[in-house]
């Protein structure tokens, strides 16, 4: 059974860099990797998306190795408002069927 796994939780202090890794062994060949942030009682919010190597936007960077079986979301200098659950999302092909699979989610807690 294809699984997309992430660390369950992480703690960090304000101003630090945080790296969250997602393992996705069954990623479909042409599929992108997307990361989302979710606050309680809200829908997930798009952070960043990439296919390979490195992508950077105004809030995060995404590192994807050549085999694309994992990806790392990097938040450069976290603040208290970054406390949330972070999910990766990939498309996988299982028994010939394409499906979107969210990761297990990483609960990030930023401390003052």
């Amino acid at each position: 059974l294809a699984k997309t796994t992430q660390p369950i939780s992480m703690d960090s202090y304000e101003g630090q860099e945080v790296n969250i890794t997602c393992s996705h062994n069954n990623i479909a060949t042409n599929d992108y990797i997307t990361w989302y942030q979710q606050f309680p009682s809200q829908g997930p919010r798009f952070i960043i998306q990439g296919y390979k190597t490195k992508v950077t936007n105004e809030v995060a960077s995404l590192f994807i190795p050549a085999d694309r079986k994992s990806s790392t979301l990097s938040l450069p200098r976290v603040s208290l408002s970054d406390t949330a659950v972070y999910y990766c999302l990939v498309g996988v092909t299982i028994a010939g069927t394409y499906k979107y699979i969210f990761g297990t989610g990483t609960r990030l807690k930023v401390l003052a």
Binding site: Y32, T34, Q42, G43, P44, F46, Y100, G103, G105
Partner: protein, 113 residues
């Protein structure tokens, strides 16, 4: 520019009943996906609609069905509700490209008693 809107925000139903949830996509988006998120879990893919057809489906029974209208809005129907169907139901819209990022609404909280 309105984002994704879902209605109702909360709903309480009894086992065996049927429920319909509604979603209006972000302006300019033509694809709607539905997800189920149990408490403390990640979203689980139910299905995706594009051009009024179900394009992909996750591992959900036939009790879960949907529809997309010509204006791209969508409905999720669940028949014969079970206690285990209690969850946050999320709608996401996107462009037709499968790799287009999803834009989520804030969901409908369904409680089955």
């Amino acid at each position: 520019d309105a984002g994704v809107t879902q209605s109702p925000t909360h709903l309480i139903k009894t086992r065996g009943q049927q429920v319909t949830l509604r979603c209006s996509p972000k302006s300019g988006h033509d694809t709607v996906s539905w997800y189920q998120q149990a408490l403390g879990q990640g979203p689980q893919f139910i299905f995706q609609y594009y051009e009024e057809e179900e394009r992909q489906r996750g591992n959900f029974p036939d009790r879960f069905s949907g529809h997309q209208f010509p204006n791209y809005s969508s409905e999720l129907n669940v028949n014969a509700l079970l206690l285990g169907d209690s969850a946050l139901y999320l709608c996401a819209s996107s462009l037709g490209d499968p790799n287009s990022p999803l834009h989520f609404g804030n969901g409908t909280r369904l409680t089955v008693t």
